[in-house]
Amino acid sequence: MTRAQKLNVVGFAALIVLLFAFPYLGTSGYQVSLASTVLIAAILAATVNFLAGDGGMGSLGHGAIAAAAAYGAGWSSLQGHSITMQVVVAMGTGIVVTLAYGLLSMRTNGIYFLMVTLAVGMVIYGLAYRLSSVTRGENGITGIQRPEMLAEPWAFYLFVVASFLVVTLVLLVVSRSPFGAGLRGVRDSESRMRSLGYYVPAFKLVAFMISGTIASYAGLLSVWHTHFVSPSSAEVHRSVLLFVMVILGGLGTTLGPLVGATIVVLVENVVSNSMERWPTLLGVIFVLAILFARAGLVGSTAKLVRRMRQRRAGAGPDDAAELTDVPPTSGTTTSVRP
């Protein structure tokens, strides 16, 4: 293990300790609740990150998948089902919706994929808004309870922290598995994978299902957090913000989603207290990130550190995924602007 890797592990350990200690540091209930919001958003962003980083599939529909699951829980709670049943219905709804997404999009790639997910997401939003006999229309569904053992805000927070860690771990494992390698193969060159005998759409569908299932889980967590769901959770704006989080944090990095989610949620919830034009600020931050920190905050920092170290100790590995257009003809990733 090199010194850098040791540093990495120590950093992660410190982060985990900090996450768990957070409610014990004299923080108010509001701050703990805000932290839950950040982590749930980070889980959702991680699913987008996985799909875009490893699979090269930029999705603008994940907010809607999470919302579908949340609606599942809401509808089920209106029927007076038990909590277990609510979880089943929520995850079921999320997975069915994910499957619909996957089937519609698995034959497309690049920009077409983006547009299909965008359009399907808008359909989900429309359904939430207009299928009012099930969704109660704009008013949304209120009074959805979480399991009793998670009723206390701090207990729920710790549960969310654990969920975040498990999700990060699962995505890391999938990404390092042979399946993950195949997925990156598809990302880099579909035609090469095809000629190697892989059935490409199946790869994409499976990746989408993994990502969508976790997104559904995040939807369930968010409904447990806020106790209600309404069409605005399915808005395209939400999905776009997820993408913003991923890009800000750094596409393909493990901690990128957490960093991105923290920034976006804080701008939305805290900066908005004192700055009226915060949507503009968000847009400007996003544009600047794409122009000047293409690898995101995490990626760019890592790169900077690496470059400084390389200057001292010669060449080293450079395997951070970058936000680049992958030309179908070459397997190498194009480098970012100098």
Partner: protein, 446 residues
Amino acid sequence: MKSTTTSAHRRLGALMSLGAAAALVLAACAPASSSDPTTPASDPTTSDAAPSDDANGETPAGEGGTLKVGYISPITGNFAIAGQEMVDGWNLFWEINGSEAGGVTVETIVEDDAGNPELSLTKARKLVESDGVDVVVGPLLANTALATAAYTSSVGVPNLHPVAAADDLTQREANDLTLRTGSMSGSQMNYPGGVWAAEEGHKTAVTLCPDYAFGWESCAGFKQGFEQNGGEVVSQIWYPNGTSDFATYVSQIQAANADIAFVVTAGGAPGPDFLRSFMGLGLTDSQELVMNCCGMDQATLRALGDEVLGFKSISYWAEGRQSPVVEEFNNAYAERYEGKIPSANVAGGYMTASLVAKVLEENGLVTGEDLVAAIGDASFEDSVLGKVSWDEYNNTVGSVYIREVQERDGKLYNVPIREFNDVDQWLGLDPDEAMARETYSQSFQG
């Protein structure tokens, strides 16, 4: 190289599983500070406002103490104009009358929720748990209002609603801490419109309402008023939320061939969009039309100008009503906001402020359920909304006006041509009977 990377990742993995396990252990022991969400953080070491507290201490607050108000409204996003108006109405009152009532200083913290219920909820939490407000006012939209009310009532903080119209806020989900202070419920405000239409001699009606709770409630109110007085609603058309091209619906209204058309929008663009199509098809003179509060509000008047002269609508707010209270309010608003005329949203915010001021003057500083109870006992002989009082479900009982757009000094006003007084939310039923019925929908209209 590759293998060390993988092993590092394996270590990370182990670390995270360990972390996840730790969560379960930790879940058994509660942190002291966050076990009670209703107590605002008061630990002096963590409070970032500590130094400024001393500065505040030098300027004495009203001897009766301070009422801290958290005001949530969408100031950015798609509902920004309505949200800003709701805030302006509230501020206007305190600017005119000073921010002290009955010796109590009223301090307001405004928060933006961008019309997003998740954000409303976070902001409500922040206001209650970090700022320690005594009362939450707003937000504007039905979904944000219902979400916020569920939270505030769970932590024992009163929640006043200047604009939100959802029936259930003061019916099936009514509670001791949630009040509608500056508007009426959807069915309540349109019921007298149906009565009026029937009394005008119209025999048949066609309705066009948005296909969700507000539309169902509004149409149900009109339909019951109309049919209880001998009219018949021959066709009910529902448009999906977010409709922008109304031409096909106008064609359907024309095809229905009814004596009067009743059209509902929740405010914003659908009002002008509908009227553009309606006037475009040349129906202005041939089809009698009455709209609801929000379809013919000042935003529509500003968008369409003289073209809407003579159009009729039903609302609890009439900016053209001859009353010293309304005139004072209109003038004060016009003076501060570029000659604009206040909409129902401004009136709702202003009304809520007048109510809070009145309660403080009569009772001194009251909070929690006492504040709600005091509001329940309050009444106005003439407010900006006319004669108003509150029923035991914390809803307004007040006047509904049939209005006509008229020009006065080069400006357009909705002027009342008929007034219904003491309108409550039960549409002629008793409360239990009304709430035992199913919720309004396309298929159930009462």
